[in-house]
Symmetry: C2
Subunit: 226 residues, 2 copies
């Protein structure tokens, strides 16, 4: 009888242990801090002051005429970009938004590694912020191998992906129907990191210059043979 | 001694059972067919024949001069769209790609619910396929409340989201650096379904017409009062 009771008690203990382990695993998966962020933000954004996002510790509240303390699609985007602590890789077709330019320059000033890839034609249009970034000392490369470098994505700290239809312009932010998807899902972030690396490497001016130097004698030889 | 051995055996069994349950749970999570798809596709796409995707059961192989049996970024996109079995909700700024138009018309011909939202200006440009879709009997609405309806997303069977920088044009597919993200992740699909519903409802011509009818007497009254 005593043996039977022992077996029953240990058996029940086994079931309880199994269920506890399963429950604990489920809870850890739901609550662990590393659960990947997945967020969709739609535009146009409401118009609101974003000064407090740039200077959160300022003792003087902004006195501009825009609404204050309003969380908008644009303020959410800005916060994601300014959350960077080590690097920002930006690959954007059209970049003329001055607040976004200010955010990128701020990250560079903090000592982060900032790399910007843009379209060769759109980087030179009136209002483009590409010149401002270059003047601030940020390394910018322009894609020249395609009709358009039409991407609009950013990777923050090799961890957070921001991608979608939104060019970094004032019209896109305030007047267009647009979307961005913000995610830390490694299966989605990794391909964008690899694509950025590939484009960055392909558009290295030194590499392009060397390729031209190597190619030139061939062309001369070909002409000589004609 | 016999009791001790029984307790030991049952104890070991308990540990084995716990580990087995945990392992089984992990395996089920990894292998279950409902595991959300997460895929990133980059463009430009290689050029290849896509006839076999439209007519997979054809007895006659295509004799065009393009490469055959090549899996490309574009063929992957086409397969995702043609995988629809009940509905396609498409929200795209610029739509001039004839293969993509053929795919959308094919889904409509199969009896699926196809709804297309586009930009008011870009739906009327030369080469736009919006007229082709309308002629085929597909319900198309154009967004008129924003400067541009700049989205480029599709939702297949209210389950699969295709979104990114890619407009549905030939240049985007074959000549631009572009990306699309294809996912079944509910946290990402759901907001796009809601955004489509919102835009579809806001651009209902009947709703707009009724809103105008209601508004007109107010305007007359206002004039009379002046």
């Amino acid at each position: 009888m005593s043996v039977l009771w022992t077996v029953k008690a240990v058996g029940l203990g086994a079931v309880a242990l199994s269920l506890s382990v399963e429950l604990l695993g489920w809870l850890l998966r739901r609550l662990r801090p590393g659960r990947p962020l997945k967020q969709v933000i739609f535009f146009p954004s409401e118009v609101a002051c974003v000064e407090h996002i740039f200077t959160p510790t300022s003792a003087y509240p902004c006195s501009c005429s825009l609404p204050h303390d309003v969380e908008t699609s644009f303020s959410r985007l800005l916060r994601h970009i300014l959350s960077a602590s080590s690097s920002l890789d930006l690959c954007v077709f059209s970049f003329s938004n001055m607040d976004l330019s200010r955010a990128v320059v701020a990250l560079h000033s903090r000592g982060l590694t900032v790399r910007v890839l843009s379209d060769k034609d759109y980087s030179a249009i009136t209002g483009s912020q590409i010149g401002v970034l270059r003047k601030a000392g940020i390394c910018v490369r322009c894609e020249s191998g395609a009709v358009h470098m039409h991407h609009k994505f950013a990777v923050v700290d090799s961890r957070l992906l921001i991608t979608g239809s939104l060019n970094w312009t004032l019209t896109a932010v305030l007047h267009n129907m647009e979307n961005i998807l913000v995610t830390e899902e490694p299966d989605l972030v990794r391909p964008f990191i690899q694509e950025f690396q590939r484009l960055w490497h392909n558009n290295d001016p030194v590499r392009r210059h060397l390729a031209n130097v190597v190619r030139k004698p061939d062309r001369v030889t070909a002409r000589t043979r004609d």
